[in-house]
């Protein structure tokens, strides 16, 4: 087993136990458990970072295939949710996002490494930036989606007047909605840059001039988020419908990712 693979296995276990610790916070907040979850996840993140550095440095910093894209996405997702969780002091958000990070990374470990780089074209700094920004944007929308799920669950309890564990543990609706607004805004910036850099790379490399399903899906997602932000700013939209739109937009981006790197994606 290579050193990078060992790092990944250890990191995955740390994420797994961290996710379990985060989920137990739904049953009751204990300070010891909060820090256990955070430390386990942070250790996993460092190990995964080391593994990725070892792996990518050996590949000329070119990610190979769907598995590595998912691995980088999980790495970014964990970094973001740890930041958000620490900034908002709402560790229970980890109960939604830590398992999501594990779920994103699990297929990557199952698929295993790919021998071929993700693109057959020439590697340029702009292409690397395009991929990096795209995955970062996806991770931001992933966290926004986790927050939206938490919002919808809490909103359902508040509306239905059911005062169970989620009602007690999840932070306020306004905090979640505000967090969603900021995350979607940053995600939208990243998505816009992804489209711009993507078009720039395509124009320089003489890529396909016709729009393919992936580009169309990404453009539709961009329109969804653009409409969402406009509705927020101009009409004051918030709450449930914004949460659903966030999830819908993220779903489109996941389709786009699968279309780009997945089986038959051809990238």
């Amino acid at each position: 087993m290579s050193l990078s693979r060992l790092c990944f296995v250890l990191a995955f276990h740390a994420y797994g136990f961290g996710a379990i610790a985060y989920v137990t916070l739904l049953a009751g907040r204990r300070k010891g458990m909060v820090w256990t979850a955070r430390v386990l996840t942070a250790v996993g993140w460092v190990l995964q970072g080391v593994g990725l550095a070892l792996l990518l440095s050996g590949q000329g910093w070119r990610p190979h295939g769907f598995a590595e894209a998912l691995s980088i996405l999980a790495f970014l997702l964990v970094a973001l949710f740890l930041t958000v969780e620490l900034r908002t002091q709402a560790p229970v958000l980890g109960a939604f996002l830590a398992p999501a990070a594990v779920a994103v990374w699990l297929p990557a470990l199952w698929l295993g490494p790919s021998a071929q780089p993700s693109t057959s074209g020439p590697w340029t700094p702009m292409l690397l930036a395009h991929i990096g920004i795209a995955l970062t944007g996806l991770a931001v929308f992933g966290v926004a989606t986790g927050v939206a799920v938490a919002f919808l669950l809490l909103e359902r309890q508040v509306k239905g007047k059911r005062f169970g564990l989620l009602f007690q543990r999840i932070p306020s609706l306004e905090l979640l909605d505000g967090l969603n607004r900021r995350l979607v805004l940053w995600g939208f910036v990243a998505l816009s840059l992804t489209l711009v850099t993507g078009l720039w790379v395509a124009s320089r490399t003489g890529g396909a001039r016709t729009f393919q399903a992936v580009e169309i899906t990404t453009a539709v997602a961009w329109l969804v988020f653009a409409g969402l932000l406009q509705a927020r700013v101009l009409a004051g939209w918030r709450g449930r419908r914004v949460a659903w739109l966030t999830m819908a937009g993220f779903g489109l981006l996941v389709l786009s990712l699968v279309g780009t790197y997945g089986p038959g994606g051809g990238r």
């Binding site: 932070p171 306004e174 419908r241």
Partner: protein, 426 residues
């Protein structure tokens, strides 16, 4: 037949809000009910709050129960009887003590209930339905309630319905700093809710009421702003939290009304706390996006967990109530014994005097004044010695004793005036 205290009623524990709404009648109708129930020698009390409607009567048990049942049926139909509880005698007393001490409240320890029971008693006094016995019972209940409040942490540990509303608002808004509160209604409950919300940081406080002067008075007290009652939509547009406490028989905030303000509010969350019974807010309002409407029953569920946290203080309160109830029963048993004793002594004294006079008159040689005094002293001593043990026994009441059986027995044996005795087993 002896008299008893009987309580027939429904509360948040036994009846849904829809039924309690029907039973929440205005003061005029309460007076009518009291007038019918409290035909002498019966006494009556009508306790009506958001969470309970209870009829108390003091009189002959059988006829009283039937009368209370008839009145409750008149107010709420057969359904009311199906959800009602009935307490008699000592159980009714204990219930009233617990209600006044807020141990039976939706939010255990909430302070409003004592004032509400006092108001009910004042109304019963005004219409002549509460007289000597209910006066004593209520005074003891109020005293016990005061002890529970001052000698336990129940006041500090308890959250009123208003405080529960603050807790809910925090779940929606995170914090209440800078949130605009609209108080619809200008009564005591509204003031309490306003103070709770203001202490949590809510500002500004808007107050509206059908009678603008009342709204202005409350706004002055809360350092808020009074608004005209119409159009209510204008006030709703500004509010984040709305607390309704009016006595309106129909909802004053409808789904259409709130839906019409959603756009102009820019979809800001709106939290409506309906503490009124009958409800001021249509339940369908809760179906609107970003609008959360809670009525008193909903809040009951919110505070259920808090109630567990206050269990210790409540247990202490229960002990105090039991102690005060025992003292009340002992005092009453003593009160029962004293009139009987006085009559017994008066009877014995009358016999002594009569027999002494007859004996002195039958003597062939009249006694000197000194000799007559000696004989009179001897007869008094005989009476006192004979009555010594009965006197001690009648005054010795076991703590917590509800009845003084000796008083009843002495009255029966010596044929004393039953009407002058304080009968009953309430």
């Amino acid at each position: 037949m002896s008299s008893v205290l009987v309580c027939l009623g429904v509360s948040h524990k036994t009846a849904p809000v829809a039924l309690r709404e029907r039973l929440a009648v205005p003061v005029e109708r309460q007076s009518e009910v009291l007038g019918r129930v409290a035909a002498s020698p019966t006494e009556a009390l009508f306790v009506s709050t958001c969470n309970r409607v209870e009829l108390y009567g003091f009189g002959a048990a059988d006829s009283l129960e039937a009368r209370l049942r008839a009145e409750l049926t008149l107010l709420g139909g057969e359904e009311a009887l199906a959800h009602a509880y009935l307490h008699r005698g000592e159980a009714a007393l204990r219930h009233l003590f617990r209600v006044a001490a807020s141990l039976d409240s939706m939010v255990v320890g909430e302070p409003q209930i004592l004032g509400q029971v006092k108001e009910a008693f004042e109304l019963a006094q005004r219409v002549g339905a509460a007289r000597a016995e209910l006066g004593r019972v209520c005074a003891a209940a109020f005293s016990a309630a005061k002890r529970v409040r001052t000698e336990t942490d129940i006041g500090r540990a308890a959250t009123s319905m208003a405080a529960a509303a603050v807790q809910l608002a925090s779940k929606i808004f995170g914090g209440l700093d800078g949130k605009t509160v609209l108080l619809v209604g200008a009564g005591e409950m509204s003031e309490l809710a306003g103070r709770h919300l203001a202490s949590a940081g809510a500002r500004p406080l808007l107050v509206t009421n059908r009678t603008l002067q009342h709204a202005e008075a409350l706004a002055r007290a809360l350092d808020g702003e009074a608004l005209p009652f119409h159009p209510l939509e204008a006030a709703l547009r500004r509010a984040d939290v709305v607390v309704c406490t009016t006595a309106s028989p129909v909802p004053i905030i409808t789904r259409e009304m709130v839906a019409g303000t959603v756009r102009s509010r820019r979809h800001r969350p709106l939290f409506l706390v309906d503490l009124a019974v009958p409800r001021d807010v249509e339940p369908e309002v809760n179906d609107l996006d970003n609008v959360y409407a809670y009525d008193v029953d909903d809040i009951q569920r919110v505070v259920a967990e808090n109630t567990a946290l206050r269990a210790d203080a409540a247990a202490q309160g229960e002990a105090l109530v039991a102690e005060d109830l025992a003292r009340f029963l002992s005092d009453r048993a003593l009160r029962e014994g004293v009139p009987v004793l006085a009559q017994l002594r008066a009877r014995a004294e009358a016999i002594r005097k009569a027999e002494l006079e007859r004996a002195l008159a039958n003597l062939p040689t009249p006694l000197t004044e000194a000799q007559a005094a000696v004989v009179a002293a001897m007869t008094s001593a005989i009476v006192n010695k004979v009555l010594h043990q009965p006197t001690v026994r009648l005054r010795a009441v076991t703590p917590g004793q509800a009845l003084n059986p000796l008083a009843e027995a002495v009255a029966e044996l010596f044929g004393l005036d039953a009407a002058s005795r304080r009968s009953g087993e309430s």
